[in-house]
């Protein structure tokens, strides 16, 4: 009688343990996927701010066509780019480079530099760049937490049975590791 009870208790404990492990893995995996989607939210936010910036700059520096066209081109390319991470990163790098040139413009045009609208947009775009990198950082942190849980004992035994897979980190590609050039 006693042994039966003990066996039942052990089985119940095992079941509970598996439930906790499974839920923990699910929770972490969902957080990883959420974090990935949030990166796109921030990238889109940046793309949406660009037309406004271009209009403001045009009012003061209309003949700087080259720089402004470059940024519009980069923006359109980013919207049209396919969804895979490599293409996205490339388009993203092009926008960053083009934007840097636009902000460098303000050094030559003191009226533009003092314009409240321009300053507000500059602040917004700088902040959005920050948000994009923080979103990527959070994605990597979530991936770390998920991979840790996945690979640690004893969860690792169950993870393979339940078909959980390791996730990849977001890596800066070779392109964006170049030092950006700012030309005056």
């Amino acid at each position: 009688m006693a042994t039966l009870l003990i066996v039942i208790a052990i089985v119940v404990l095992l079941v509970l343990f598996s439930v906790f492990m499974y839920n923990g893995l699910i929770r972490r995996r969902n957080q990883v996927e959420n974090a990935w989607a949030q990166i796109d939210v921030q990238l889109k936010r940046r793309i949406d701010l660009i037309p406004n910036l271009v209009e403001t700059v045009k009012a003061y520096a209309a003949h700087e066509k080259e720089t402004l066209d470059a940024v519009i081109k980069a923006r359109n390319a980013a919207i049209a780019a396919p969804s895979n991470p490599v293409a996205q990163a490339e388009a993203d790098g092009a926008i960053t480079g083009a934007l840097r040139q636009v902000f460098a413009l303000s050094e030559a045009y003191p009226d533009l530099k003092a314009n409240q609208n321009f300053l507000a947009l500059q602040e917004e775009l700088t902040a959005t760049e920050g948000r994009v990198s923080y979103a990527r950082q959070f994605y990597n942190d979530a991936t770390l937490s998920y991979n840790n849980k996945l690979q640690q004992f004893p969860t690792v035994i169950f993870a393979n049975m339940m078909h959980f897979q390791k996730r990849e980190y977001f890596q800066a590609d070779a392109l964006s590791r170049e030092v950006p050039k700012v030309q005056f």
């Binding site: 923080y134 959070f138 979530a142």
Partner: protein
């Protein structure tokens, strides 16, 4: 960095465990000296606990009111809000309330019982003196307090300190008025009971010990917040630079009081520097580690 964070959390837990032991020791001392040790301890805990619980529940409102903090207008303080939002994305925290304190001294504090009910305040002096990355470092430090539930930790500690204070106070009074169980049972045999002496010494010294430990816990959590902040921003030079500026700045924060001192990033009211043996004693009661030490630690990261 991750290892430091884990080690720090372990040590804070150990400190609090010692605290609980101290409380138990005081309770036992009361038991030996007067009787009713267990009941007295429970009553003291409940009393101190309920007072602390009230302040914990309303922590954000109280701290903000006392410091005369006003909500920061999103249009006027665009950069501040942007930085806080960025850090919330990095840490996965919900965005706390953002407040401004009119004070020329650079300082900041965080409060709130959990990340969902949190608030961060910065002084106008801080906004003027810090550049973008330094401001971000300070904000990350404050958000780390929220993330690490430091308000909860300090409320726990305050409860323990309060219980010890109540118990020892009661104990000494009761011994004075009742003559204590030792003397009542009170023959020549009993007056030499060594436990009574130990208990009495404990009653006298426990409150000071408790205060010292409270300061030690506070210092540990401040260091944890510093390292956590660097994990959030992945950019230690920002916070290092901010701490260096704070170290070189000598304006005294007027909006702080002794009660809220532990919440601010830099120890307020540190206008006068002591020298010599007395300063070492004073520094054991500091709620923050010295700025030099904090800067050195962060440089090692």
């Amino acid at each position: 960095m991750f290892d430091q964070i884990r080690a720090n959390k372990r040590k804070s837990a150990a400190l609090i465990a010692v605290f609980v032991l101290l409380l138990a020791a005081v309770g036992a001392a009361i038991g030996v000296l007067i009787g009713y040790g267990l009941i007295a301890t429970i009553v003291a805990l409940v009393f101190a606990g309920s007072m602390a619980a009230l302040s914990y529940w309303k922590a954000d409102a109280i701290a903000l009111k006392v410091s005369r903090a006003k909500p920061a207008d999103p249009d006027q303080y665009r950069r501040l809000h942007n930085l806080v939002e960025g850090l919330c994305i990095a840490s996965g925290l919900p965005k706390p309330g953002v407040y401004i304190v009119e004070d020329p001294a650079p300082n900041a504090f965080a409060t709130g019982r959990d990340p969902k009910h949190a608030a961060i305040a910065v002084t106008t002096g801080l906004l003027e003196k810090m550049n973008r990355v330094e401001l971000e470092g300070v904000l990350a430090h404050e958000l780390s307090h929220v993330r690490n539930y430091d308000i909860l930790v300090s409320t726990l500690v305050v409860t323990l300190v309060g219980s010890i204070a109540i118990l020892t106070d009661l104990g000494i009074r009761m011994m004075w008025w009742n003559g204590g169980r030792v003397r009542r049972e009170g023959d020549r045999e009993d007056s030499g009971n060594p436990l009574a002496y130990i208990g009495f010494a404990l009653l006298i010294f426990a409150p000071i010990l408790a205060k010292l430990m409270q300061a030690a816990v506070s210092r540990k959590r401040e260091t944890l917040a510093d390292v956590s902040a660097c994990q959030m921003t992945r950019y230690p030079p920002g916070l290092i630079s901010a701490l260096e500026k704070l170290r070189d700045d000598t304006t005294v924060t007027h909006s702080a009081t002794t009660a809220t001192a532990h919440l601010w990033i830099e120890q307020p009211m540190s206008g006068v520097a002591d020298r010599g043996k007395l300063s070492r004693l004073h520094s054991m009661f500091d709620t923050h580690p010295p700025l030099e030490e904090r800067i050195e630690l962060l440089r090692e990261l």
